[in-house]
Amino acid sequence: MIRFDRVSKRYPPGIDALGDLSFEIAERELAVINGHSGAGKSTLLKLIAAMERPTGGAVLVGGQNVGSLTRSSLPYLRRRIGMIFQDQKLLFDRSAFDNVMLPLEIAGFPPREAAQRVRAALDKVGLGQREKAMPIALSGGEQQRLAIARAVVNRPSLLLADEPTAHLDTDTANDVARIFMEFHRVGVTVLIATYANDLFPRARRLRLDHGKLLT
């Protein structure tokens, strides 16, 4: 599903975030990326979603070289990916419901079916009662769960999560972990960057250190 082939990423002022990275993640696999702050975990996920382009090597997603995608084919890659961003990227001028609705609107879902899906996703993360709330009126953990609902509402075939449990207490984090396991079970490829390695005991583990893979 995902293949990194000698990928390196250097940010403008000469910061090597990733260096000569090669690995493969099979379809339907559940993998966890660990590593210290600044190790390159977010960069790795951004390369998969084509939010950044590698400065060396090739990133392949479902056989497609993501780094050489044209602008106009980018949206279709991203619709197949559900992504939870480290900084959440919620829209603060839309209600929780509308935030989760957005990916479905973009994909052009019929409104009736879309509304049902949105409610199901909000229920799953425990925000069923807060659909009318604006994100500013949600606690940090609730915002995080809202971001998770938005990522999964579209039933993507690939789920990328950057610190999805950073703002969650242990119980809620376990609930969230269970959601990811469920998706994994029904055949979704799941890739999670997190410090909480005890949440996914049976997952494959990738350890990053200063942009290099430890094995």
Binding site: A49, M51, E52, R53, R71, S72, L74, P75, Y76, L77, R78, R79, I81, M83, F85, K89, L90, L91, F92, D93, L102, P103, E105, I106, A107, G108, P110, P111, R150
Partner: protein, 299 residues
């Protein structure tokens, strides 16, 4: 098809919500665009009215042709025929010397003078309107007429012509100046307004892109937003121009009445109104399109 419609309705709804979310901004924007549009639209209205006025009155410059005092009516008739057949002449009015005398007598303070005269001192005359009223063409005609037999004097109303010409030149310069200035200003204002909306929606654009939105999807609500704002500004300009027309009706009417003309100033016609609104909406649409260009270029 249904999805296409849904997406457009959603975009329109979003645009309306954005307009409503910052009512003060919306109002100020409408005001800016409306005022910027009202000035050229008002100029157009005044111009249209001036043209209509010019159509109802013969303000064309004229040539006066005086026969020799000795010439008789037959000579005058010959000249008249010749004038009527002549190419560049549009209209000929004969003024018999008897009529001129009678008219002069009725003039103030001249009756005794004229009564004292042994013979009629006035010659037969023609007032000629030229087909082509540019000064050079008129000069040419006058020169030609001067060569005709029994013509004593040809007078060109040339000061009048040159004044009109200078006025028109000035008017044209002023209109160009205003047009360029206001055109640039209008575009700048519309863009500024819409860029403001784009800037405050940066997060939304970015997130939508990350969630797989096409450029078209992102653009749509902004295009509606721009078009609605432009349209609103256009309507506002239309109202302003209409109000100005009403306000100016009395003083303008008073003025032209003193020149023995009547003018009831007309607001913008249906076609002009439609053009104004279409132009305003397109401008807003275009402003949104261009404002988005640079934002969408980013990854």
């Amino acid at each position: 098809m249904s999805i296409w419609l849904t997406q457009h309705l959603n975009a329109l709804r979003l645009a309306l919500r954005r307009l409503g979310a910052m009512p003060l901004n919306t109002l100020l924007s409408l005001l800016s665009i409306g005022v910027a549009l009202a000035l050229p639209a008002g100029g157009q209205m005044l111009l249209a009215n001036a043209l209509q006025l010019a159509g109802t009155t013969s303000t064309a410059p004229q040539i006066s042709l005086f026969m020799a005092n000795a010439a008789d009516r037959r000579a005058a008739n010959e000249i008249e025929n010749r004038l009527r057949r002549y190419g560049g002449v549009k209209q000929v009015q004969f003024m018999a010397r008897e009529d001129t005398l009678a008219r002069m007598k009725s003039g103030q303070g001249l009756r005794e003078v004229i009564d004292a005269l042994p013979t009629n001192p006035f010659p037969d005359a023609f007032v000629i309107t030229a087909a082509d009223d540019r000064p050079e063409a008129m000069e040419g005609l006058a020169a030609e007429f001067r060569r005709w037999p029994k013509v004593e004097h040809v007078q060109l109303d040339s000061a009048w012509v040159r004044r009109l010409d200078a006025l028109l030149k000035l008017g044209r310069t002023a209109v160009i100046l205003l047009g360029v200035l206001l055109g640039a200003g209008l575009i700048a204002i519309t863009f500024t307004t819409i860029r403001m909306q784009v800037l405050t929606s940066r997060a939304e654009i970015e997130v939508s892109q990350l969630l797989g939105a096409t450029d078209g999807f992102i653009r749509r609500p902004f295009l509606y937003f721009g078009a609605l704002l432009g349209l609103g500004g256009g309507v506002f300009a239309w109202v302003l121009v209409g109000a100005a027309a009403l306000w100016l009706r009395t003083p303008l009417g008073d003025l032209v009445r003193l020149y023995d003309l009547t003018l009831v100033i007309q607001p913008l016609g249906t076609l002009d109104s439609a053009l104004l609104l279409a132009f305003a909406a397109s401008l807003g649409w275009l402003g949104a399109l261009l404002s988005l260009r640079q934002h969408l270029r980013q990854p």
